[in-house]
Symmetry: C2
Subunit: 144 residues, 2 copies
DNA sequence: AACTATCATTTAACAGGTTAATAAAAATAG
DNA sequence: CTATTTTTATTAACCTGTTAAATGATAGTT
C-alpha cells in the first residue's frame, strides 16, 4: 500500500503554500487576496471581460468570482455593468484606481518572481509548468 | 513582463483541482472532505498522535485541524483525550468505526491512484514529486 | 512561591473552494 | 409564437486557509 506521504493533492498544496509565502505578504499590505490580485492582473492585461471569461482565465469557479467581484467593485477597483448584447452577462472593467494599484504592486511581485526563478532554476521551473499542464490534461480526460 | 498565464500558484491550484476531481467524489459519498480523509488516513497508519504531530504530518494549520477534529470526534470517527504527560496536548486516536470507514474507502482510492499513475506515467509522477519537494525547500529558505 | 515567557490548542473573523439551488435572460423546439 | 431547455450569474451552506487574538498549561526566573 502506498505510504501516507505519497499524496499528490497534499504535495501540490504544500508547494502552493510555499510559493504563496513569497507573494502574499506584499498583497496583504494592500488588503488583496491572491485571487483578488489574480483578477486584477487579468483585467489589467485585457482591460475588460465578462465574468465567465475571467473565471476561465483565472481558474476561479463562478461562485468565488462572484464574491471577489462584489468586493473589488465595492472598493472601486473594478466597474461592473450588464453586457450590451446579452443581458445575462456581466461586463467587467478595471477602473483607473484599479490600474494605479496594479502599477504600484506589479513591479515588486515581478522581482519576487524573478528571484524565485533564479533560486529554483529556470529549466526546472519550465519543466514543472509542463508537468502540471500535462497532469491537468490527462487527469481531466477521465470524465465522460 | 511575464504573461498572465505564467502564474505558479495558479498552475499548482489547477493541478490540485484536477487531481481532486479524481478522489473527491468517492469521499463525498461518505461526507468526508479531502482534509478529513487525510487526517483519518494518517491516524490509521499510526493509530494515535497528538494534534501538533497530525498538523505537521497532514500539512494542516492548527485552526483547520481543530475544526476537523471537532467534526470527526462528533461523528465518532476519532477519540480525543488530553495527553497524560502534558495537559496542553490533545491525544487523538482513531476509533473502530473510523477504522471501518477507512477500510471501506481506502481500496477504492488506491485503485484511482494507480489509474492516475498509469495515465500520467510513473516516471513523470516521481519527477513531479521531486520538483515539488525541491520547490518547497528552496522557496521556504528565504525567510530569515 | 510568584512572575514571566513559552507552548499547545482553540476561537474569531474574513476570504476562497465546492456543490447544489435559484433567478433571469436567451436560445431552441414544437 | 409559446413552452422548454440552456446559459449566465448569484446565493446558500458547508468546509478549509489564514492571520490574529485568547485560553490554559508548562517551564524558567528571580
Amino acid at each position: 500500500m502506498r505510504t501516507f506521504q505519497r499524496s499528490l493533492p497534499m504535495a501540490l498544496m504544500r508547494a502552493r503554500e510555499a510559493v504563496m509565502c513569497e507573494f502574499s505578504p506584499e498583497l496583504r499590505k494592500h488588503d488583496l487576496s491572491p485571487q483578488q490580485w489574480r483578477v486584477l492582473r487579468a483585467l489589467e492585461e485585457r482591460s475588460s471581460m465578462d465574468a465567465t471569461t475571467i473565471s476561465k482565465h483565472c481558474a476561479l469557479l463562478m461562485p468565488s468570482l462572484s464574491r471577489i467581484l462584489k468586493n473589488l467593485e465595492a472598493r472601486g477597483l473594478v466597474i461592473r455593468a450588464p453586457s450590451a448584447g446579452d443581458q445575462r452577462r456581466t461586463h467587467i472593467e478595471i477602473s483607473d484606481s484599479g490600474r494605479s494599484l496594479f502599477k504600484l504592486i506589479a513591479p515588486l511581485q515581478e522581482l519576487r518572481y524573478e528571484s524565485l526563478t533564479e533560486r529554483f532554476g529556470y529549466g526546472k521551473l519550465e519543466l514543472l509548468y509542463e508537468l502540471l499542464e500535462e497532469l491537468v490534461e490527462k487527469v481531466g480526460k477521465e470524465e465522460v
